[in-house]
């Protein structure tokens, strides 16, 4: 519970899913990444530099900025691709949710494994719509672009609030706060998860029917 959670909702066409997701995720990660830390003696450090890159979308009238780190990009693209596949395999016009969770690790004593305590969760709810003709696609292309622009402004607003961020760690603790596996950039520790939900009603009613049957069979 002890974490902020932000929910964003987008409605996109099937082929726009990955670009829309990339746009949102990259925008958030851009704000939540720093340059690599270079620790010096006397417990000080300096921060490396971060480059940025503009990315144009093919299916949406939109350009977003991302950290110019190919490694990070690869990781995120992989997650988004998995999400898109899952969404496609789910059959009908699925609803899905992809969450980007920033967490901290807390070292525990021996019998317990390290705890991962999230401090901020971004949930992006995706609603895939089917469009009939090219005309609608064209409109959708522009509309989704506008919507994404709004989302980016939302994200920046949230990030500009002076909310809790983990404190800057000392050298020994840097792995508990930042993801140091990347060569050129150092985002806060994050996790991308997704879940696919069919519209809730049907699943409830099916489980319901089964439960009632079980009850009666007794």
């Amino acid at each position: 519970m002890n974490c902020r959670s932000e929910v964003l909702e987008v409605s996109v066409e099937g082929r726009q899913v990955d670009e829309a997701m990339l746009a949102v995720l990259h925008t958030i990660l851009l704000q939540r990444s720093t340059g690599k830390f270079h620790y010096k003696k006397e417990g000080t450090y300096s921060i490396g530099t971060v480059g940025t890159q503009d990315v144009d979308c093919d299916f949406i009238d939109f350009t977003f900025v991302r950290v110019s780190s190919d490694e990070l990009d690869r990781v995120i693209r992989k997650a988004v691709a998995e999400f898109k596949d899952a969404l496609g395999n789910s059959g009908s016009d699925g609803m899905g949710q992809i969450s980007l969770e920033f967490y901290q690790k807390k070292k525990s004593r021996w019998p317990f494994s390290d705890e991962c305590i999230p401090w901020e969760v971004w949930s992006i709810k995706v609603n895939v719509v089917n469009l009939a003709n090219e005309q609608e696609r064209q409109i959708c292309r522009e509309k989704v672009g506008e919507k994404l622009g709004e989302k980016v402004i939302n994200i920046v607003e949230v990030i500009n609030r002076h909310d809790y961020l983990p404190k800057m760690p000392t050298q020994s603790e840097v792995d508990n706060v930042f993801d140091t596996s990347l060569k050129d950039v150092q985002p806060y520790l994050y996790k991308i998860t997704y879940q696919i939900t069919d519209s809730l009603g049907t699943s409830v009613s099916t489980t319901m029917r089964r439960l009632i049957k079980d009850t009666l069979a007794l």
Binding site: Y45, S46, I117
Partner: protein, 843 residues
């Protein structure tokens, strides 16, 4: 996707990130996470643990307690198995003789079976093996939980030591309010909770009491099936720990419960759309849990019996009277609990009300039983006396079979009988007692007031305040009854439960989903009959019953004076406080104005607690003491003040609750309300919380205002407010009569203007039997028995009298006393003012 490189490019790391020569320009110092207390994941659990460690007086006490519990468990099981299988009872009862070579004495070890026989018996007995396995599993579960708990509490311990800067040895000497204040302090530094910069008291309470608040609200809205109408017993309430455990299992944490985790309701339960399906699902879950209960019933039953046997037999042997003692029932604890009231707060006020409550219950001695008990006690006593006399003469009598056991039995029998024989020198006044009880328990159904003498009221009160024996019996029966309640009663309510959780759950930032009642928002859940008329927008469904929202709000604001309530609530609180303050001030002024010599003449030490002094001020049904004093012939204006204080004391201090007949109790023996402390106390009542927070400028308490005293004041203040609110409620619900009162109030607002008038009226003896002669008092008198207060009031008291029911005048003591002197019948009769005649018990 085309990528456009902007000018913001990462410098390649082939050389140092910083341009050469500038390595030291931009250097950061890591803050590090020196404290491990920032950003705690599960704050609910964390605060609960902090609280329970505080309540268990530190780590060592808790550790020892838990270890002993584990040991006890082993002991109970092992000892039972041993008694059942390894003892040769024939030897013990001397039905069989042992062949000893050296002596003829039978020793205890003789009665034990040899180890091999014993273990063979155990092995052959499937039932015993079954029990052993089950308790073994149970014990292991407890052991794992214990080890886990110890690890967790070790963290909490270091939190106390490192973050809160309290050593374990000091914990018992800090109140929870102090611990809480430190936690709030700490939040600024460590950010335990990341949503907010600052925590409030309410946040902490919400987290600790999240589920309790739900349960309190459900009991308040009568959602839980705990009330049953049984053919023989009439209306009964059955609510045991087992049942409570099952409710919690179903709603809060069991598999498939309504809550996703500790702090949030599952999203599907928030939507109204599929409530029917969810209700179906819930009811089938309840069915399954009920069936599981039914299947486990034998195991639980055996456990309960064993546990009860081992924990209570010793107690019963030691003090057989304890079964006749009473305790607050589990239902009572939920009914009486405020929203956001921690366990220790509830327990302390219930314990304060205990004495008065048992006295109240003792009012209802059945005369029939008394006669029977007296005679049984007589016969039993005679036999016992003879047996004891014989024993004293020759102790061989003890060796005769069953003599010792009959002596024991007779002793128990006499003790039981004695509890049915009321004290000869007590006079009870149920209505008054009930008022004293109300001052502590704060809740009470409307129809009790004025019906305190009735058996129905008593029976209903007994549901809250039951015999210990009944409690134990219910606990024993619980495993058998619980599954049926779950299957047949709770299931029917599943739709209501779903609706309840949907309608009354709010998501509070930084806290999660809480019961909306626990927000104590008068606007949302206020009840118009409880002083929130005009402020509340709640429908009947949303209103909390019994004024729970309002009382809880007051209680919380009083126990946590630093808490900043939302605006409407602030308004409500200050409005109420102001009213109470006005009355208090009026009462105080009344005394001082009337008795100029008051402070100088009497300088006896007041030995009573401030609690009683203050509480009385407002509470005082002009209690009998004042009237008794009134009989003392020499009524001097001065003694009026004394009697007022005394009556005040009498009406609330435990000693006086039973209103002993003290027709001519010498006033010198009365605790004086003239001690500076009293005045200070009055001042404090008036200024309420302010007085407590600024620790009072009154010199009388200087240096003594420890937090303990403060919390004592808080509880007193709450008592006053509770009484006041009940009084207002009564007034409001009285309809027609109250119209007059309100009408009067208007004229009273300008009390100064009429003061001379009153001054004149004051010296004029007035017939108490014809209250309408009083130009402003009379019409409000609902019944003849209260007319004695119908005299004119002095100017200051008038204003508050106007807002109270005429039964509870506050400052018009002088008139009453004068009237008592001039017109009223003897005080003994006067003492019946609060009760219908036939109830006045003199035994």
């Amino acid at each position: 996707m085309a990528h456009f490189d902007t000018e913001y490019q990462r410098l390649e790391a082939s050389y140092s990130d910083s341009p050469p020569g500038e390595e030291n320009l931009l250097v950061h110092v890591p803050e590090g996470s020196k404290s491990p207390w920032h950003h705690i994941e599960n704050l609910d659990l964390f605060f609960q643990r902090v609280y329970s460690l505080h309540q268990k007086n530190g780590f060592t006490c808790m550790l020892l307690g838990e270890i002993f519990e584990l040991v006890q468990l082993v002991f109970v099981v092992a000892f039972t198995v041993f008694l059942a299988n390894c003892v040769d009872y024939d030897i013990l009862f001397a039905n069989k003789f042992v062949n000893h070579t050296d002596s003829s004495k039978v020793t205890l070890p003789d009665a034990f079976l040899p180890v091999d026989v014993c273990s063979a018996r155990i092995r052959d007995n499937v039932f015993v093996i079954f029990i052993l396995i089950i308790s073994g599993v149970f014990w292991l579960h407890r052991l794992i939980k214990f080890i886990y708990n110890i690890c967790c509490y070790w963290e909490i311990r270091s939190f106390y030591i490192n973050a809160l800067k309290m050593t374990m040895a000091d914990i018992p000497y800090f109140t929870w309010q102090e611990v809480q204040a430190r936690i709030i302090e700490i939040q600024k530094e460590h950010q335990i909770c990341i949503h907010k910069k600052e925590l409030t008291e309410l946040d902490i309470y919400h987290r600790i009491l999240r589920f309790k608040n739900y349960m309190v609200a459900m009991v308040n809205k009568s959602l839980l099936p705990v009330r049953f109408r049984l053919p023989l017993l009439g209306n009964t309430i059955f609510y045991t720990r087992g049942l409570k455990y099952n409710f919690e299992l179903i709603f809060f944490w069991g598999p498939g419960s309504l809550f996703e985790n500790e702090w949030s309701l599952k999203p599907e339960y928030r939507r109204g759309g599929n409530r029917l399906e969810l209700a179906d699902r819930l009811s089938s879950r309840i069915l399954w849990i009920g069936i599981a209960n039914l299947l486990l019933c034998p195991v639980i039953l055996i456990w309960q019996i064993l546990y009860a046997f081992f924990s209570y037999t010793e107690l019963i042997k030691r003090e057989p009277g304890s079964l006749g003692a009473r305790c607050w029932s589990l239902y009572g604890r939920f009914y009486l609990r405020h929203f956001n009231e921690l366990d220790h707060e509830l327990m302390s006020r219930l314990s304060k009300g205990y004495k008065a409550s048992s006295k109240y219950m003792n009012c209802f001695m059945s005369p029939l039983l008394t006669v029977v008990a007296k005679n049984v006690a007589f016969f039993a006593g005679s036999i016992l006396a003879v047996l004891i006399a014989l024993t004293i003469y020759d102790e061989d009598v003890l060796a005769v079979e069953h003599v010792l056991s009959s002596i024991t039995l007779l002793g128990v029998c006499i003790t039981i009988c004695r509890s049915f024989i009321p004290d000869k020198h007590m006079v009870y006044c149920p209505e008054q007692l009930l008022k004293v009880i109300l001052a502590f328990i704060h809740y009470m159904p409307d129809h009790w007031q004025g019906n305190a003498h009735r058996y129905e009221t008593r029976d209903e009160f007994a549901q809250l305040f039951q015999y210990k024996a009944v409690f134990i019996l219910e606990e024993l029966l619980s495993p058998v009854i619980t599954p049926f309640i779950l299957i047949f009663c709770l299931r029917r309510k599943s739709l209501e439960i779903i609706d309840f959780f949907r309608n009354f759950t709010v998501d509070v930032v930084g806290v999660g989903d809480t019961c909306s009642f626990a927000q104590m928002d008068v606007r949302q859940h206020g009840h118009p009959a409880w002083m929130s008329a005009g402020k509340t927008e709640a429908s009947i469904y949303q209103q909390a019953e019994d004024g729970k929202t309002e009382l809880s709000l007051m209680h919380f604001a009083i126990t946590n004076p630093h808490w900043q309530p939302p605006r409407e609530s602030t308004h409500f609180i200050s409005h109420l406080k102001e009213k109470v303050h006005r009355e208090a001030a009026a009462g105080q002024q009344g005394i001082i104005a009337e008795n100029p010599e008051f402070t100088s003449t009497h300088s006896l030490q007041s030995d009573s607690e401030p609690r009683s002094l203050i509480a009385n001020l407002l509470m005082g049904p002009p209690s009998l003491a004042s009237l008794h004093l009134g009989r003392e012939g020499s009524i001097h204006p001065l003694s009026i003040g004394v009697s007022e204080g005394a009556s005040a004391l009498y009406s609330i201090s435990p000693v006086s609750t039973s209103l002993h007949l003290r027709g001519s109790y010498p006033s010198a023996r009365l605790p004086r309300p003239d001690h500076p402390a009293v005045v200070a106390g009055r001042a404090m009542t008036g200024s309420g919380t302010d007085a407590r927070t600024i620790s009072s400028g009154s010199s009388a308490w200087e240096g003594q205002l420890t937090s303990m005293v403060l919390s004592e004041y808080a509880s007193t203040e709450m008592s006053i407010h509770a009484l006041y609110m009940h009084e207002m409620h009564k007034q409001q619900s009285r309809g027609e009569v109250s119209r007059h009162t309100w009408h009067r109030q208007e004229s009273d607002e300008s009390s100064e203007s009429v003061s001379e008038d009153i001054e004149a009226a004051r010296n004029f003896p007035r017939s108490s039997t014809f209250p309408t002669t009083s130009h402003r008092e009379g019409p409000a008198q609902p019944s003849g028995s209260q007319q004695r207060y119908g005299g004119a009031s002095d100017p200051v008291s008038g204003s508050f009298r106007a807002q109270r029911t005429p039964r509870m005048p506050m400052g018009g003591w002088s008139e009453e006393n004068q009237m008592g002197r001039h017109h009223d019948p003897v005080p003994e009769e006067g003492s019946e003012d609060e009760l219908p005649p036939q109830i006045h018990k003199v035994t």
